[in-house]
């Protein structure tokens, strides 16, 4: 019979009474007390072998005098690894385990005190953050109220301004229309005049022998008037235009001018020169088509660069050509360019326009203000919806960005917004996650999840998990990629400090017997 019962907690000793048979804790079997710790497992629950490795599910208690008693699985007993600081798990083994309980206790206490101090300092900062957050929050709530009130007022005001604007514009439009109608009439009259001038000009121009009549020969030299460019400009064709062998000024005016006015060119004028160039280089499509064919046939990745630059050239060409194409080519249009600008509005109209402009500006300003307020309200509401922790302790960190420098990358997390990876050797920033949510209970607020980042090639979309721990400063202290494209960051912040730890007295141990 053993005097010391190995592996049993003091609180459980009453279940092991040497003078009585032992019953498994689950009540299944009773046995002579000799069977306890005899290195053979009798109880399904392992309770008969608290001090040996015999039971697969047994538990061994190390007293660890001077430190904290702990329970280790039976499989740690006598396996050559010192698991208890008092070495009691290796009582039968050849290896000697030094008793490290005292050192461990000291170290643990020191660590705990360091931790406590850290949390104490952190909590102070955290409290500041909380009160700031609370102030902000109150401020924001008030602001929201104000804004909503303001919005109501402004929306009424906006309606008034809209009405004013509409009225002013009505008057303005009426006056402007009147003015423009008058100008149109004037212009029509002038255009008629101009046409007459033009007819005269062209007639005189064509009538090279000054006989007040245009002959076939005189017109024939203007080959641009030939409808069928490829053939010769025959006398018959010219005759058809002239309506006979010649045309007098009246005949020219009534039948010939309208036929030729669009094609006729006055070679001596610079405007006409431009037009010629434009006509000759028009129709760019045939040039464009073959280059496309070539491209698709020759396409391979090594020619990529070459192809790209070709493509650029093509686009430039096309643009140039289309610009030229847009330039006026007909005589009528050319004339129009030289038309006079409409005369200024009369004073009355000018005044009305001024009034309308004023009304518009007033309305637009008011509208912009309403939009601004709406936006601000939305932002405020959005932010108020974010869970910043039970005491709003994370609130002040909103949209603050923190970097972690690693060999190849800078990792940046902008709190409650996005996280990204920035290559140090150049290259573009990659979003590795957008704010998603906190972790799961019980330590919900110790984990931040940023998900739905840019997808990996042939893989999942990137994501970042931020493990928060107590620290005096806000800073990322580690970033890893345990699985490809799934990042994990350790981030220190006072917000993660715990006032319970900060206030825990030294002698109260966190993990005694488990």
């Amino acid at each position: 019979m053993r005097t010391v019962l190995r592996g049993v907690k003091r609180s459980m000793l009453s279940k092991y009474i040497p003078s009585k048979p032992f019953t498994c804790f689950d009540g299944s079997i009773s046995m002579p007390f000799d069977f306890v710790n005899d290195d053979y497992c009798d109880c399904r629950d392992g309770s008969d072998e608290p001090g040996t490795s015999a039971c697969p599910n047994g538990q061994f208690f190390c007293e660890n005098k001077g430190y904290v008693g702990i329970v280790v699985p039976s499989q740690f007993v006598g396996d050559g690894v010192c698991d208890c600081c008092d070495g009691s798990d290796e009582y039968e083994n050849e290896i000697v385990c030094n008793n490290t309980c005292f050192i461990l206790a000291k170290k643990t206490n020191e660590q705990r005190e360091t931790q406590r101090l850290l949390h104490e300092q952190g909590v102070a900062k955290k409290n500041e953050m909380i009160s700031k957050a609370n102030a902000f929050k109150a401020e924001r709530a008030q602001r929201l109220e104000e804004l909503e009130e303001q919005l109501k007022r402004l929306e009424v005001d906006l309606q008034v301004k809209l009405d004013l604007k509409n009225q002013a514009e009505e008057l303005e439009t009426a006056s402007k229309d009147k003015h423009e109608e008058a100008w149109e009439e004037q212009r029509a009259a002038r255009e008629l005049l101009q046409r007459d001038e033009q007819i005269k000009d062209i007639f005189n121009d064509l009538d090279t022998n000054q006989d007040k009549s245009i002959s076939i020969e005189e017109l024939k030299i203007h080959t641009e008037l030939d409808d069928e460019k490829e053939n010769e400009f025959t006398n018959d064709e010219v005759r058809t235009i002239l309506g006979g062998d010649s045309a007098t000024f009246d005949e020219f005016n009534s039948t010939v001018f309208d036929q030729i006015s669009n094609s006729y060119k006055k070679i001596t004028q610079t405007v006409t020169n431009d037009q010629t160039t434009g006509t000759e280089s028009s129709n760019p499509t045939p040039l464009d088509e073959p280059s496309k064919v070539t491209r698709s046939e020759n396409y391979d990745e090594t020619d990529n660069e070459k192809y790209d630059s070709n493509d650029m050239d093509d686009i430039d060409n096309k643009d140039d050509i289309s610009n030229e194409k847009d330039q006026p080519t007909s005589l009528g249009h050319t004339k129009h360019v030289h038309d006079d600008i409409a005369p200024d509005f009369d004073e009355e109209t000018k005044k009305l326009i001024q009034i309308a402009d004023q009304a518009r500006k007033v309305f637009e300003d008011a509208e912009e203000k309403v939009q601004d307020i709406k936006r601000e309200i939305e932002d405020l509401k959005k932010r108020l919806e974010i869970d910043f922790g039970p005491e709003d302790e994370f609130s002040t960190m909103f949209n603050e960005c923190y970097n972690y420098e690693e060999r190849e990358y800078t990792y940046r997390v902008c709190m409650f917004k996005t996280a990204s990876q920035i290559p140090k050797g150049g290259g573009s920033e990659v979003v590795i996650g957008h704010w998603e949510s906190w972790g799961s209970e019980p330590n919900k607020y110790s984990v931040m999840k940023y998900t739905n980042g840019v997808s990996c090639w042939n893989g999942p979309s990137r994501a970042l998990t931020v493990q928060l721990q107590c620290g005096i400063e806000h800073r990322a202290i580690d970033v890893r990629e345990p699985t490809k494209c799934k990042y994990s960051m350790i981030f220190e912040t006072p917000a993660a400090c715990d006032k319970d730890i900060a206030s825990k007295p030294l002698d109260q141990h966190t993990h005694t017997e488990f």
Binding site: D38, D39, Y40, D42, S53, A54, P56, P73, S74, Q75, F76, D79, G80, V81, D300, E301, R407, C456, N458, G459, P460, R480, E481, P482, T483, K484, K486
Partner: protein, 916 residues
């Protein structure tokens, strides 16, 4: 490990195939040759002479020594002469070599494979009718050498006709020749591809021209043949009538397909045939590219006769005997064939083992559970994964580091930013009885600042192009070169890289993994060396291709052996292998995928390897590529816990899959599977010891234990571990029932979990749930187990043993237990081991041993479980020497289970347990 990784794969994908959509599309079958694209295969497959032109001159017979006969042989069509050597070997084996009598260039004979020069036995010959020579050797073996046309028939047990060579007249020996034939000699076939051939963008210059050899070996009266790994295909080899032949050519196949005869990472040109009467084998020692066609002649004959029946008129079909013909083709080398005449499966295993060697007993931890991933990122990661096993109380023995642990894929170095103190890391892991493994691939980064490269470069140690320049290719590190291990000096130099002095940061706790050693060359033809690169001894890679990977892992093994002064057993894992690789390395099935079909395929692949001598084998748990769901992962753990090499491994792009990441329930199931493995480690270790001695693999097809049960011949969803356990892993999702054929005559099979007995010769319908790993202990066996839990195998060495005695119909059983220190060579050098034989008979269980060995252990017999004991006995007593004790017992009526409590004797003593 996969082919395309990191930035390389993008550039390479563009480079090779320009399809950048997904990489599954990038690597397809068209990256590897079909028979039609390999000219010698094409030529040999076409070769069908009316009458074989080869003739053996029996009068030329010379007896070199007793058991070695020599003949001249001739191709009567072109008068090329050959030398034919017959060697009658011990243990019913025969070797036949055929080589050119006077080749213009010496033909390569494979080195580094045979354990020793095989032992000869005397032969008695007689000429039968002028055209046949009969030889008798051994107790019951016989051969018949037919002169013209050349044929060799083999008989076992005197008269059982088991093998026939060239009976289909496909023997075709392409002699070396000059490109311009001066003597007007006409080639037998078209010259297509004889002097040059191009595959994709690569041209093989073939400076020596054609040199292939084809031969047919038939197995009359056999319907099933096995072996010739490595192929992701069924265990019973299929007819290749409508497909390509099975191919031997060590290559890195990215995301390999299953159910096809394509070549994979390794080659063992060895085939076995089995029927109720006999098991036989044929091994052709040749390291060149090879192909094997398989045809079931019974089927073919029928087909043939039905189509051309009229031509044969009334000729009666008498020969209804089934026959399998195998047609072998190798690109170069000589014919060096070994014929193993059995007649039992165990005889064949032994016969092959004597020639190529057996797997030496691995350190016990190598048989335990391995945790790997591409990659564990840094020392913290390793620490945390180790802590995960501790925290979740899951046993684990080895943590692995893939290529990212190195400084830029420079093997023998560390990425010091991630692994600043590898020695401490190994020491810390070692505290838990655990080991570590690092990877070391054969490509050497071309970088003058890299010591290994610079040294090798200056010594001209790299494989060369045919113009004498160093061959350069692409692999993980970018531009790389490859050491020429064929040169013994280079082999030794390389093995010396593993010394503690040369491999900085390595400790005695660190072991090795050789990957990519086919070798994988990203920009090479078929992702490997061009065939015309040159090796030591004026050899082309064409001649030696399939032994390259083996030479690397042999050198690695030697390095580890030497670093401990020959005290400690090395552990090396290799992807590429050849016949004989078993002597120095474990093998895994490469880059499989997280698919149920791949889980299922692991069994036939591992069986094919096992029966061809590569016995320490496994498949990546969970599947290397892609992510398994929890169910597949759990089932994979359960299956692999009963397969020899047990390692989880995953691609870098996959999600983490350590056992505790799939919820408590799945963690528990995985823990149970791994714990089950650990509980059977004494049995595994015993089997591997026996394997080293007797060459019987630990993992076996059912027919190896039940050779007369024809039902077992095609089974590949169940297998045996030793002769005691039948395992039927669940390899389908959502099954609630499995059908399991239980073999044997009057045999009882006990469920190892419930002890429920099942009768043999029936297909049992078993209800299963996620907990189930259908495993049955055969009545008549005694299996040693360790039922205590430990975090690693090395910490359990002294733990007590439980004997599980499963009684047969006669209430008898027997078994063995091997034990030693688990890691040194003392078991060999000083006979420091225990080899116990247990026999249960007449209500007595006896433990006896071989007194010439001795090993001190504190391990003792903790428990004896007797399954199938008919009634509750009155008394149990145990006598060990002078002491007699009366241990308590309990009896469980329903299960007929007798449990002896604490019988107590040391494992190392003799004792007798008596039940009355």
């Amino acid at each position: 490990m996969l082919l395309y990784k990191h930035s390389y794969y993008i550039s390479l994908a563009l480079f090779f195939c320009f399809c950048s959509i997904t990489f599954i599309q990038c690597v397809d079958r068209s990256n590897f040759k079909s028979c039609d694209q390999s000219s010698f295969c094409r030529r040999n497959r076409k070769y069908k002479p009316d009458v074989s032109p080869y003739s053996v001159d029996l009068s030329s017979m010379k007896t070199i020594t007793d058991g070695h006969l020599q003949f001249t042989m001739m191709n009567t069509q072109n008068s090329v002469k050959f030398q034919l050597d017959l060697f009658t070997l011990e243990h019913n084996s025969l070797r036949m070599k055929i080589n050119e009598l006077q080749p213009i260039k010496k033909r390569y004979e494979v080195q580094n494979v045979l354990v020793n020069e095989p032992k000869l036995v005397s032969v008695t010959t007689s000429i039968l009718d002028g055209n046949q020579l009969e030889g008798r050797f051994g107790k019951t073996s016989r051969f018949l050498l037919v002169s013209n046309p050349f044929r060799l028939d083999l008989f076992t047990n005197d008269n059982i006709f088991v093998m026939s060579v060239n009976s289909k007249q496909l023997f075709n020996f392409e002699h070396y020749r000059k490109k311009q034939s001066s003597d007007g000699e006409t080639p037998l076939h078209d010259e297509d591809g004889m002097w040059e051939e191009t595959f994709k963008t690569h041209t093989d210059s073939k400076p020596h021209g054609p040199s292939s050899i084809g031969i047919d070996v038939s197995f009359p009266n056999f319907e099933n043949v096995y072996g010739i790994p490595e192929h992701a295909d069924s265990f019973v080899l299929k007819s290749t009538h409508d497909t390509d032949p099975y191919r031997f050519f060590n290559v890195d196949v990215f995301e390999y397909d299953i159910q096809n005869p394509m070549a994979l990472y390794g080659s063992v040109p060895y085939i076995l045939a089995h029927n109720e009467q006999a098991s036989v084998g044929f091994f052709w020692l040749n390291a060149a590219e090879g192909w094997v066609d398989i045809s079931n002649d019974k089927l073919n004959t029928k087909n043939l006769l039905s189509t051309i029946k009229n031509f044969f008129g009334s000729t009666k079909v008498q020969n209804e005997v089934p026959e399998i013909t195998t047609h072998w083709m190798f690109e170069s080398g000589i014919f060096d064939g070994f014929f193993f005449l059995g007649p039992t499966p165990k005889d064949v295993f032994k016969q092959y083992g004597l020639i190529t060697g057996t797997t030496p007993l691995p350190p016990i931890w190598a048989l335990a559970y391995h945790q790997c991933r591409w990659n564990y990122n840094d020392e913290d990661d390793i620490k945390n994964v180790n802590a995960g096993f501790e925290h979740n109380m899951i046993p684990m023995d080895v943590l692995w580091l893939d290529i990212e642990h190195t400084n830029g894929k420079r093997y023998f170095t560390w990425d010091t930013s991630k692994f600043p103190d590898p020695e401490k890391m190994q020491h810390d892991i070692g505290m838990y009885g655990r080991k570590m493994v690092t990877i070391s691939d054969p490509h050497i980064k071309k970088d003058d600042g890299y010591q290994v490269y610079a040294d090798a470069k200056s010594r001209r140690y790299f494989v060369q192009n045919k113009d004498g320049s160093d061959y350069e290719g692409w692999c993980w590190p970018g531009s790389s070169m490859w050491l020429d291990y064929l040169n013994p000096e280079i082999f030794d130099w390389y093995s010396n890289r593993y010394s503690y002095a040369n491999y900085k940061g390595s400790t005695s706790n660190l072991f090795l993994w050789n990957d990519m050693n086919e070798p994988s060359v990203f920009n090479g033809p078929e992702v490997t060396f061009p065939k015309d690169v040159v090796h030591f001894g004026d050899l082309e890679n064409r001649d030696v291709h399939n032994i390259y990977g083996m030479l690397q892992h042999m050198a690695t093994f030697k390095g580890l052996f030497d670093r401990s002064g020959g005290q400690e057993r090395p552990f090396v894992l290799t992807r590429s292998f050849f016949a004989g690789s078993q002597k120095t390395s474990a093998v895994w099935t490469g880059d499989n995928a997280a698919e149920w079909s791949h889980l299922k395929m692991a069994v036939p692949m591992l069986l094919s390897l096992s029966v061809t001598g590569i016995t320490f084998v496994g498949a990546d748990v969970g599947g290397f590529f892609r992510n398994p769901d929890a169910k597949l992962l759990v089932r994979w753990y359960q299956a692999a816990s009963f397969q020899p090499f047990f390692r989880e491994h995953a691609h870098i792009d996959t999600a983490r899959r350590e056992p505790w990441l799939f919820g408590d329930d799945n963690t528990r199931l995985i823990r149970q599977a791994i714990e089950t493995r650990y509980s059977y480690l004494p049995y595994w270790y015993t089997l591997f010891y026996k394997q080293e001695k007797q060459a019987v693999p630990a993992m076996l097809p059912l027919w190896a234990i039940f050779p007369h049960d024809t039902q077992t011949f095609k089974i590949e969803d169940s297998f045996m571990i030793g002769n005691g356990l039948l395992v039927h892993p669940i390899t389908d999702a959502d099954v609630t029932e499995v059908s399991i054929y239980l073999p044997g005559d009057n045999t009882i099979w006990y469920d190892i979990r419930t002890f429920v007995p099942h009768n043999s010769s029936q297909t049992a319908l078993i209800t299963v749930d996620m907990e189930s790993i259908p495993v049955y202990q055969r009545g008549g066996t005694i299996i040693p187990q360790r039922l205590r839990k430990r975090r690693s195998s090395m910490l359990a060495l002294n733990d007590p043993i439980t004997l599980v005695v499963a009684l047969d119909k006669n209430n008898e059983a027997k078994g063995e237990l091997y034990m030693d220190d688990g890691h040194t060579y003392d078991y060999k050098k000083n006979r420091q081991f225990i080899y116990r034989r247990f026999l249960f008979k007449n209500n007595e269980l006896k433990s006896r041993y071989d007194p010439s060995s001795k090993f001190d252990t504190s391990a003792w017999i903790e428990r004896i479980i007797i399954i199938g004991y008919p009634k509750n006995p009155n008394k149990v007593s145990i006598n060990s020497g002078e002491q007699t004790a009366i241990p308590l017992h309990s009896y469980h009526d329903q299960q007929k289970l007798l449990i002896i409590r604490r019988p107590g004797p040391s494992v190392s003593t003799d004792w007798t347990l008596t039940i009355s």
